[in-house]
């Protein structure tokens, strides 16, 4: 295994300057940066092996098919799925979620049924269920949180015999906290509901194991884990995927097409219409190799160390308030906070003027903001290339924010 302390050297973008300062990237929760080896492998594929996967019998079509399918096998290994038929390539977590909503949700729910989610969900795992509820007459019910970001006692009992779908983030993209997956999954399964787990914020940062998590569907995006944008994954248990109708129609997802009727291809191709994103699949394959060269457990431990380092210092700054848990052990590389009387956009602009990139806004989780009465916040999010000196620089500039905005302290 390689030492994580060296990881930052693999990222050319971190050698950039911005506004006369070294670029410091603390927005990995939005999208992660790309190491040289991932870019190299994509460029090599594009320049020497580019063809249309699954089409034609010439050398390039075959090599492109191999590259694409090897990436699928690598995903099976990376998330410990059972077989390649369970892995569908999509554009991103959001598209994976839409596939579940349209293909499973619309066809399996009816009036009287319930969908249960948490109030902390990303819009991808929320707007989709509003849509399914509106179309089918099912009810969308929320599990609420306490001030520290944990599910309130008893909320889990909203999962009852009427519940058909339980959907929640493995790790919240605002709170950085892991929901009690096992407890919620066991409860869901005990009432016969399927579990949809949003792994967008967990898969890049910790070992995820489909057989251990036992969720029915799992989604994640390549771009949050050092691959390029435009490649994502839907994992589904085979029996569920077999029974679902196709989501997108067109080339490659068919078996026989006659003038009026079509039979569909087998899994996983049934859900992959049109020319796929083979470059993205190659990038994702390389990214998984890259992350595994350090080890997912080591990455998780490293991020915990970073959070333990920055969180107390952040909370010591007057007028700064951290959202959700303030226990470093419960935060997976993501910390959202507010500064009294200063809008998060102004905080982000002031940090950007010193070369520091953070996210500001509602982080695609507006109901959570409304629940905590914090319409917008600033979020720093870390990854394996983040260093303590990056966090020091961030803290130094953050301390000046209120003065820049004309406050006395």
């Amino acid at each position: 295994m390689r030492p994580i302390s060296e990881a930052y050297k693999d990222f050319p973008i971190l050698k950039r300057e911005h506004n006369g300062h070294r670029l410091i990237y603390l927005d990995s929760g939005a999208t992660a940066q790309i190491p040289q080896m991932v870019a190299d492998r994509v460029v090599n594929h594009m320049l020497y092996h580019n063809g249309n996967p699954h089409r034609g019998s010439h050398i390039l079509a075959i090599e492109a098919s191999e590259a694409y399918e090897n990436a699928r096998e690598r995903v099976v290994e990376f998330i410990n799925a059972r077989e390649r038929e369970e892995i569908i390539f999509t554009r991103n977590s959001t598209e994976s979620m839409n596939l579940i909503a349209y293909s499973y949700g619309l066809n399996n729910l009816q009036a009287g049924d319930k969908i249960v989610i948490t109030v902390a969900e990303h819009h991808a795992n929320l707007v989709t269920w509003q849509f399914v509820a509106n179309k089918t007459g099912a009810t969308l019910e929320y599990m609420y949180l306490d001030e520290s970001g944990h599910l309130k006692d008893g909320e889990i009992n909203k999962i009852d015999e009427y519940t058909k779908i339980v959907a929640f983030a493995h790790v919240s993209n605002v709170l950085g906290m892991e929901f009690p997956v096992k407890e919620l999954t066991d409860k869901a399964h005990s009432v016969g509901a399927v579990v949809v787990l949003d792994g967008a914020q967990s898969t890049p940062h910790m070992k995820v194991d489909m057989q251990e998590l036992d969720c029915d569907f799992f989604v994640f995006s390549g771009h949050k884990m050092c691959a390029s944008q435009g490649i994502g994954v839907l994992y589904g248990k085979r029996a569920l995927l077999e029974a679902m109708p196709p989501f997108l129609l067109g080339g490659d997802m068919i078996e026989y097409v006659k003038e009026q009727t079509t039979t569909f291809n087998e899994l996983p191709y049934k859900f992959e219409a049109g020319t796929p994103n083979a470059d993205g699949a190659v990038a994702l394959h390389a990214a998984m190799d890259y992350l595994d060269s350090f080890g997912m457990d080591a990455i998780e431990a490293y991020e915990e160390e970073l959070v333990a380092y920055v969180l107390p210092k952040l909370m010591d700054i007057p007028h700064v308030h951290v959202i959700g848990s303030t226990n470093a052990k419960e935060k997976h590389g993501v910390i959202a906070f507010t500064v009294d009387d200063v809008h998060p956009h102004d905080v982000a602009t002031i940090l950007d003027s010193k070369g520091i990139c953070v996210r500001s806004g509602h982080h695609c989780a507006q109901p959570l903001g409304a629940f905590y009465k914090v319409a917008a916040s600033t979020r720093l999010s870390m990854y394996l290339y983040t260093r303590k000196e990056d966090l020091d620089a961030f803290l130094d500039v953050l301390k000046t924010v209120r003065t820049v905005m004309g406050f006395e302290d």
Partner: protein, 141 residues
Amino acid sequence: MEMDQLYTELILEHNQDKRNKRELAKFTTSEHGHNPSCGDDLTLQIDVEDGIVKDAAYTGSGCAISQASASMMIDIVKGKSVEEALRLVELFLGMIKKDVTDEAELEELEDAMALQNISNMPARVKCAVLAWHTLKEALKK
């Protein structure tokens, strides 16, 4: 850009000054403006009598740029005719788009001229124009 060029005293003053940030007791039009990507959210109330903007005020939440911009806008449109106010909106939008750069022409915008630098900050343009687009919608009603 240096932060004191962006967050000038004038902008910070308008941001913290709540003169124009209030509910009107009497108004003819209320218009809601929103930047979905960032959460800036404001409601603009205007009271138009005989084609004249008698009073205007805003409520809501947003960054310093969006708040200051709303306040500056209200200062200059009060007492103006609807046509005149619409012309000022176009002038401001023209300044932000860099279509209008003549300082003499821009002086009509009074304090809002201080937002000229925003045209160099693509990430913040939508903050600066929110109130003005909202006013345009309100005046058209």
